[in-house]
Symmetry: C2
Subunit: 275 residues, 2 copies
């Protein structure tokens, strides 16, 4: 994904530039049509997954999230038709993400940079915690972020673990993976444990087979990442999980973010830290 | 509440007895008709608030909880008509709480020890985290529990803080209060911060006027507690909040637990601890 449009997020200099922007400025860039992964943007500000479904599917989605709180921690739910959220009062959810996915009967039908033409009055939007939020805590604790250093989107995988069903919604748990040096594993677990609203502690470390993942070099979403020889693969639940539920359960219509291209909010990561 | 039926939970010897019971045994006692506060029962096991509403109010209630996660942390939501939960597979939500409250149009119409006669096929039940769950962590950290020592229900107060509305539901935030010696305040905050699923850190310490509470000796629910001279009143959000929303918003029908008389689950407190 990161290389799809040749935008400057794929090198170190751009990393510095995007890190200098605040969340409002970052959203203005995306609103202007720029797309690409949001990892590394607007340091210290909470990023969110988006899934919008028709109102008659909203209860199923909210219940699905409640029953699967680790992959689907809900940060906000809009009223039907509303494209605003208290998490970023001046933002427009229809235009301010880098790239969207539009789904009909569970099939991907469009991947635009805004969804003004697709919007419906009955859409209820769910903003769900994203692991990019805790990357700042990892960085501050000295844990290297291989995908950021390599200018790539994070690697995400569909697992063989099924979520708990809710109404008409079912689907597999999706995870993101970051290679972590053994000396940093304790810090990685400790720091993310304290941020349960953005997936919290890892669900798995080590052998990807434990989650039914055959090949780390072929992620289902995002980019493969190059690990150092001693690195341990560490897996956190991922907010693409509701998107996988849309693919598996086929509601008549849905809008989501494109994986890794998140909604950057005005909220501070620190406000989700429990201690 | 604790003295309402003269049951032995109001003295120290009974405290020992109830602490010796596991959650299944405790529920059997309640199913047999015993009522009274569940503080101190079935050590180490998660306790939950209950609110059951007709299915056409379930989305509003789930959204209300999502928008007010600190007072209303959802631990489980049943399918419509179901009286079972994975939190205690052999339990019957209609009989296994010590005492219930039945509401019609927001008015309290009955306070029975089971709700078999009131049950409806369209009821969706919400189990919401309870601060009794973290009392074991407080105790283990050396924080005295004045209400338990005094054989009383915890003191609960309606505050002047309004919850964020959701659909037809609105209402004030309710809190529980425990007097904490100054030397134990840090431990009380630390221990409860690590249990966000059962209300987490306090919302307020000190002057009750800060929450619009006029007189600590007159709680809205539960019993007043006697503090030591140096004790600091510490306020945690309370799962009676959805019950206050029922009173304020007047859905046509609802069933709740009686304040302080909780559903004792098989879940372990430790599983809700984030670190």
């Amino acid at each position: 994904m990161s290389a799809e449009n040749g935008h400057p997020e794929s090198n170190g200099r751009a990393h510095d530039a995007r890190a200098a922007l605040g969340p409002q400025e970052a959203r203005a860039v995306f609103r202007g049509g720029h797309s690409g992964p949001t990892t590394g943007w607007a340091p210290g500000h909470t990023q969110a997954n988006l899934v919008s479904v028709p109102a008659d599917w909203a209860y199923d989605m909210l219940l699905f999230c409640q029953r699967n709180p680790k992959p689907c921690p809900v940060l906000d739910v809009t009223d039907a038709g509303s494209w605003t959220t208290p998490l970023a009062p001046d933002a427009d959810l229809r235009t301010d993400l880098p790239r969207y996915r539009v789904w009909a009967d569970g099939d991907l039908v469009d991947e635009p940079t805004d969804v003004l033409a697709h919007w419906r009055e009955d859409l209820v939007s769910f903003l769900i915690g994203c692991s990019f939020t805790f990357e700042w805590a990892l960085s501050a604790a000295g844990v290297p972020l291989r995908h950021v250093d390599q200018g790539r989107n994070v690697a995400m995988y569909v697992t063989d673990r099924q979520c708990r069903e809710a109404g008409r919604l079912r689907g597999p748990m999706v995870v993101s993976m970051r290679p972590v040096p053994p000396r940093d594993l304790a810090a990685a677990i400790r720091e993310t444990s304290l941020l349960p609203a953005v997936h919290g502690a890892p669900v798995h470390c080590g052998d990807p087979g434990g989650l039914g993942i055959a090949d780390l070099s072929e992620p289902d979403f995002g980019d493969p990442v190059t690990a150092e020889p001693d690195d341990i693969p560490v897996f956190w639940t991922c907010g693409v999980t509701p998107q996988a539920a849309v693919m598996a359960s086929r509601p008549p219509f849905a809008i989501t973010h494109a994986p890794g291209q998140m909604f950057v909010t005005d909220a501070r990561d620190e406000q989700y830290r429990v201690a």
